[in-house]
Assembly symmetry: C2
Homo-oligomer: 290 residues x 2
């Protein structure tokens, strides 16, 4: 039996949008068994009824002794807590991965208490949508998505390869390896800052603009605010865990905007055109070949 | 013959993305004749070859004496200049409309020199795409789009109805009437500010992030920068013509972002969650029923 084989027992912790989607996508890999863990019993019942999982538990416990691969799809703090609180149940050689959008804090924290006989492979599937909960789950969210693995210094090739293969097997297109620190720095620019912008733009005006947006937009406002429909508990955690990077990047953005603002104020046509030419070329490059 | 009839001679000035799309869309209304005016003879040849227009001229002239409806699809300053420079050719009772994204400056300027026997109906079709020139033109850009008419005080119901009917006939879903001043104020929020943001975000980092964006995004960065592929000449004009509104709105946005930044800096969880809940509900409301 090859290492790429997923004929193993898998547990998915947190059966929300991401966890539910994992359970659905893993089904196609024909695992021995997929167990769902969620504190909400209605979520578990729905997952069982739909045949997404084979067994359901409201929390960890003895049954984890049979599990080979644990995918923790909880919020960052809950992810750390779940692993910490269930160490006594985990089987020697079990692989644990997560789905958190911020890595350095989590990797350092988990590695500080994880015994040698367990391995934590930090993962960040860049998949999601605006809806929440298992009702929005779909194995299609992984199709063509980016998957980032951030080895934390305690990883083995066995562990990394398993998660790499899983990511590709559920449909992700790109699996990228990068350090937790570098991951967080880049994600600040490519994901957290766009969320800060979307939220700040969405909250700019009160009711008086409510109907106007619909009638006076060619689409730019809607594009810029798509991710303003944000999960407040999750993103508060993600931002606070990455606050140093994020504050620095917000300030970089503020400076970039200030340059354009000053050019507009002084009606400096040549600077404005230079700024626009630059952004036009950079954006064109970004979508080249798509 | 009803007033809704487009069995008239129409001239489209500027056969770029917007002008070319007008010519194509107007074809379905079976006008007597559509004349294209563009300084680029290759553009004119292409439009003639494709049967989009019946006649072609590189500038205005005597032929305008036969034209009932003139659609000026040039940049704002060129729009004003074209009308001013061709007054002597224009037929008594002819209707003139434009496509500019900013209205107050243009409406005041044109009304200041337009003789009583001509009528200018200011129009803003909120249609477009990232490509430029007649090659990107398509009558489909108007399908379901917003069309704004900003009466300037000198308009007749005959003139307004004609442009209203034309906008609906070429496929626009919503035709909205609003004063030029109010139009510019709202557009600042719903369109100009999102462009300022997209450009400032796109220009934030240099080459070192080029490959990262592709591998480390779930889509939020691409959505937020779609309109960063901007037409530099056009948008420089639009921003300068509306600079007072735009500077004020950029500052409103800077303040909105500063509130979130301060909450992140002080790890003020309750304020952060409050900000996110608000944006989540507002964004949800925006796309309700779509």
């Amino acid at each position: 039996m090859e290492d790429c084989d997923f004929n193993i027992n898998i547990a998915v912790v947190g059966m929300g949008l991401i966890g539910g989607s994992y359970a659905m996508a893993l089904r196609d890999l024909e695992p021995k068994c997929v167990i769902g863990i969620d504190k909400d019993k209605y979520t578990l019942k729905s997952a069982l009824d739909d045949g997404i999982i084979d067994g359901a538990y409201e929390s960890g416990g003895d049954f984890l002794k049979e599990v080979d691969l644990i995918i923790v799809a909880l919020y960052p703090k809950d992810t750390i807590a779940f692993i910490k609180n269930n160490l006594q149940y985990l089987k020697k050689g079990a692989l644990i991965t997560d789905t958190s959008g911020i890595k350095q804090d989590i990797v350092e924290n988990i590695n500080s208490f994880l015994p040698e006989y367990l391995e934590f492979i930090p993962g960040h599937p860049m998949a999601g949508k605006e809806s929440r909960g298992i009702k929005g789950a779909s194995k299609d969210i992984f199709k063509g998505a980016n998957y980032i693995i951030t080895p934390g210094g305690k990883n083995t090739s066995r562990g990394l390869q398993k998660i790499d293969k899983m990511a590709r097997a559920i449909g992700c297109s790109n699996v990228t390896y990068i350090s937790p620190k570098e991951h967080d720095r880049i994600i600040t620019f490519t994901s957290q800052l766009p969320h800060v912008i979307a939220v700040s733009l969405m909250n700019l005006h009160e009711e008086e603009y409510k109907d106007s947006i619909e009638l006076f937009t060619g689409g730019s406002f809607k594009d810029a605010t798509r991710v303003a429909q944000i999960n407040s508990k999750l993103w508060t955690e993600l931002f606070i865990m990455n606050s140093d990077n994020l504050i620095e990047e917000i300030e970089n953005f503020q400076n970039s905007m200030e340059i354009l603002k000053k050019a507009i104020m002084s009606k400096d046509i040549s600077t404005m055109r230079c700024i626009f030419e630059k952004s036009m070329l950079k954006r064109k490059e970004l979508v080249k070949g798509q």
